[in-house]
């Protein structure tokens, strides 16, 4: 049996209504769960980017990428192993301010985990940490005993290590394509 691994998929597309749905259908058809999904406008105007994290086999991912690439509104889709990307997630934590004032433990945690305090009010304190899931999870576990009020973690964002730019990929695709068959 081929090993199940974590893959990060990057999709560059037109910003059209319904595309997200078309993308997720490709995963649900094969009963693959999406672990995280982030979407935002790319630095090229009109291009949208999706970062999708899934656990699956490489063979399956290759087929999925092919089917994503086939979507009319998708310009290009790639998949990466974790060591081919630089990625981050952001986590926000809300703790009671009373817990912060009772001792200096929370302050120490914030310092030790390279987190930062965003806002302090008489009732709550908001803390932010950026990092990999394991890191934000660890801080979460550490903050739980202090009466954690709320927690949220974003989907993954990633930039890639390979140096080839999207525009070059697109140009290659364009050069390799006939747009009509007459």
């Amino acid at each position: 049996m081929e090993k199940i691994k974590e893959f990060t998929i990057k999709v560059y597309s037109e910003n059209n209504i319904g595309l997200l749905n078309r993308l997720t259908i490709i995963f649900t058809r094969r009963k693959i769960n999406i672990e995280s999904l982030t979407t935002s406008e790319y630095h090229i105007p009109g291009v949208h980017s999706f970062t999708i994290v899934v656990n699956s086999t490489e063979t399956m991912i290759r087929k999925i990428i092919s089917q994503i690439q086939k979507l009319v509104d998708v310009m290009k889709a790639f998949y990466y192993h974790s060591d081919e990307i630089i990625y981050q997630e952001i986590a926000l934590y809300k703790v009671p301010t009373s817990a912060l004032l009772e001792s200096n433990e929370i302050e120490n945690l914030v310092r030790r985990y390279n987190a930062r305090i965003l806002e302090v009010t008489p009732e709550y304190t908001a803390i932010e940490k950026t990092g990999h899931k394991e890191d934000t999870q660890e801080l979460l576990e550490k903050l739980k005993p202090f009466g954690l009020l709320e927690f949220v973690r974003s989907g993954r964002v990633a930039i890639t290590k390979p140096m080839k730019e999207l525009a070059v990929h697109l140009q290659e695709l364009e050069e390799a394509t006939n747009y009509t068959n007459d």
Binding site: I17, N21, Q69, D73, A176
Partner: protein, 579 residues
């Protein structure tokens, strides 16, 4: 009152810049895309378009079906026969949901089709308004592309895009949902054909290094076998295929959807592969040293058990859809390109060759199959008529020149195995989806597409009743379709599996049927004949073919005939069973 029969003056398209309604823009856009036929069914949310259509009904032949599913299947069939995009027009809500089966069928069989549905006004979207349904959401998995138009300005551009997407690359269905206010809205008329979309790469250019590798493999092959799929027909590459295989002397097997892409009576045609295909192409798949697959996707009904499929062979896969490469079968050389383009580049690099013994070995295998299966079925001496005799006789009587449409099930396989196709684009069937009820509306579409050719619509008693209401369409439009109903009073294919794999427990497969010929003749005024004796068969077939209008020939056939040979589900193509 104005009726459809009154002729219009043949209105001309308006000048650029003329102010028109969204509905008119839709009609004009269709005319600009050279559409001449619409299969449709009116309703509340599409009424403005129907009203605009009324003035252009002499240029856009509207075929009024009896159920929207029928419109989709008819349009698919029309598209397959003409190699041109089919057009469907329906209303919102149930009108659109009734299309879903047809869209799924067109999607899996790569049929170019553009379907338009009306939608509630844009201010009512999402409010559960009368006959509102999320058409875009529902049809997303079964369309190549879909889009909701909410303002009249979008209509020309989106229609142009829809036709471009549906018909290029690997073709497929496109669904366009148009809100009622967009239909009523006013725009200045302007139309431009779509010639490219920046995120869409329909025709990958042929990579010559791959072609050279393929040619090398072909030139050194001792035992090559070529599988021709629907891609040959889509790209109109029949001639290129013929040139290649005659030059290099390569036996050709045509898939169910590739039938009629290569003449059945050609000495290099070795039959159909797959579950109910011929023995030779199946067995030889596991004996050949080179398998050349063109415009096909290695469906499980063709490959049988994947881990025992052509392991000994080198495989060349020519396919326009890159996502099919390596999806089911790994190839040694993959050429991602249009079949015609790839074949015409391949041809000059392929050497003339001779594989006499290898080709002969297929014939030997065929002889065995003929003696064991084909002949006994075609020349049955038993009391009951077998399906094969009927199809074989009709094939002879029409000299293999008719357009043949089938429904799904046993009769479909029998027709595919017994009709001697001599002309390209002559077979219409539901392949990937296996849609019962496809046959009758598809026969309508085929006849509308080619009024000059004989159209034979074969069906079983199960599938025929799934869309039997289309007899109304045939009657109203006076379409001289020749319907052959092979009635065994069973859902025959399911019964066959129950017989073979479920201890003959015939769970809900026996049908108590109506008097079909009475429905046709007394109900719809369609000429018909019912026969159950062999001696009446030929006369009845002659009567059917000699009748000018539509005709239903119902043949009572053997109740429990099984279709053989067969690759049982999950078995290897090497292991066909004959009983």
């Amino acid at each position: 009152m104005k009726t459809n029969e009154e002729k219009t003056a043949g209105k001309e398209l308006p000048a650029e810049g003329t102010v028109i309604t969204g509905s008119e823009a839709l009609i004009f856009s269709l005319l600009k895309e050279n559409a001449d036929t619409i299969f449709g069914y009116p309703g509340g949310a599409i009424m403005p378009v129907y009203d605009a259509l009324f003035d252009y009904r002499d240029q856009l032949n509207h075929v009024l079906v009896r159920h929207e599913q029928g419109a989709a299947h008819a349009a698919e069939s029309y598209a397959k026969i003409l190699g041109k995009t089919g057009v469907v027009l329906v209303t919102s809500g149930p009108g659109a949901t009734n299309l879903v089966t047809g869209l799924a069928n067109a999607m899996i069989d790569s049929v170019p089709m553009v379907a338009f549905s009306g939608q509630v006004s844009s201010n009512l979207l999402g409010t559960d308004a009368f006959q509102e349904t999320d058409v875009i959401g529902i049809t997303m998995p079964v369309t190549k592309w879909n889009y909701q138009i909410t303002s009249a300005e979008e209509i020309p551009e989106i229609v142009a895009k829809a036709f471009y997407i549906a018909s290029t690359g690997r073709p497929g269905p496109v669904m366009i949902d148009i809100t009622k206010d967009a239909q009523f809205g006013k725009i200045k008329w302007h139309y431009e054909k779509c010639r490219r979309i920046r995120s869409y790469f329909p025709y990958p250019k042929v990579q010559m290094d791959k072609v050279e590798k393929a040619a090398h493999l072909i030139n050194k092959a001792q035992k090559p076998l070529l599988i021709a799929g629907r891609g040959i027909l889509i790209s109109k590459a029949e001639e290129e295929l013929m040139n290649l295989v005659t030059k290099a002397d390569i036996p050709v097997t045509t898939t169910l959807l590739g039938l009629s892409s290569f003449p059945v009576d050609h000495p290099l045609n070795v039959g159909m592969p797959g579950m109910h295909g011929n023995m030779a192409p199946n067995i030889k798949t596991n004996e050949c040293d080179l398998l050349i697959a063109i415009g096909m996707r290695f469906d499980d009904r063709i490959t049988g058990r994947l881990d025992d499929y052509a392991n000994q062979a080198k495989i060349i896969h020519i396919e326009i859809d890159h996502s099919e490469i390596g999806k089911n079968v790994t190839s040694d050389v993959a050429i991602v390109a249009d079949a015609k383009d790839a074949l015409s580049r391949l041809l000059p690099l392929v050497k003339e060759n001779d594989h006499k013994e290898w080709v002969e070995s297929f014939r030997k295998e065929y002889k065995k199959e003929y003696e064991k299966v084909i002949k006994p079925a075609r020349e049955s001496k038993g009391l009951d008529i077998k399906m094969d005799e009927v199809v074989h006789l009709i094939s002879d009587k029409t000299d293999g020149q008719a357009i043949v449409v089938t429904d799904v099930g046993q009769h479909q396989m029998v027709v595919a195995r017994n009709y001697c196709f001599k002309q390209a684009r002559s077979f219409v069937t539901s392949g990937g989806l296996g849609t019962m009820g496809f046959g009758l509306p598809a026969a309508v579409g085929a006849k509308v597409a080619r009024p000059d050719r004989v159209v034979l619509g074969f069906a079983g008693d199960g599938g025929f009743q799934m869309t039997i209401q289309e007899l109304g369409t045939i009657a109203q439009h006076k379409l001289p379709v020749k319907m052959i109903l092979l009635n065994n009073s069973f859902l025959g294919m399911v019964r066959q599996w129950q017989d073979m794999f479920f201890d003959k427990r015939y769970s809900f497969t026996e049908l108590a049927n109506p008097a079909f010929t009475k429905i046709a003749s007394e109900g719809y005024g369609i000429a018909s004949r019912y026969i159950e004796k062999r001696e009446d068969l030929e006369k009845a077939v002659d009567e059917m073919l000699d009748t000018e209008g539509p005709f239903l020939l119902e043949v009572k056939v053997m109740k429990e005939q099984n279709v053989f040979p067969m690759v049982p589900a999950g078995a290897s193509v090497s292991h066909m069973v004959t009983e």
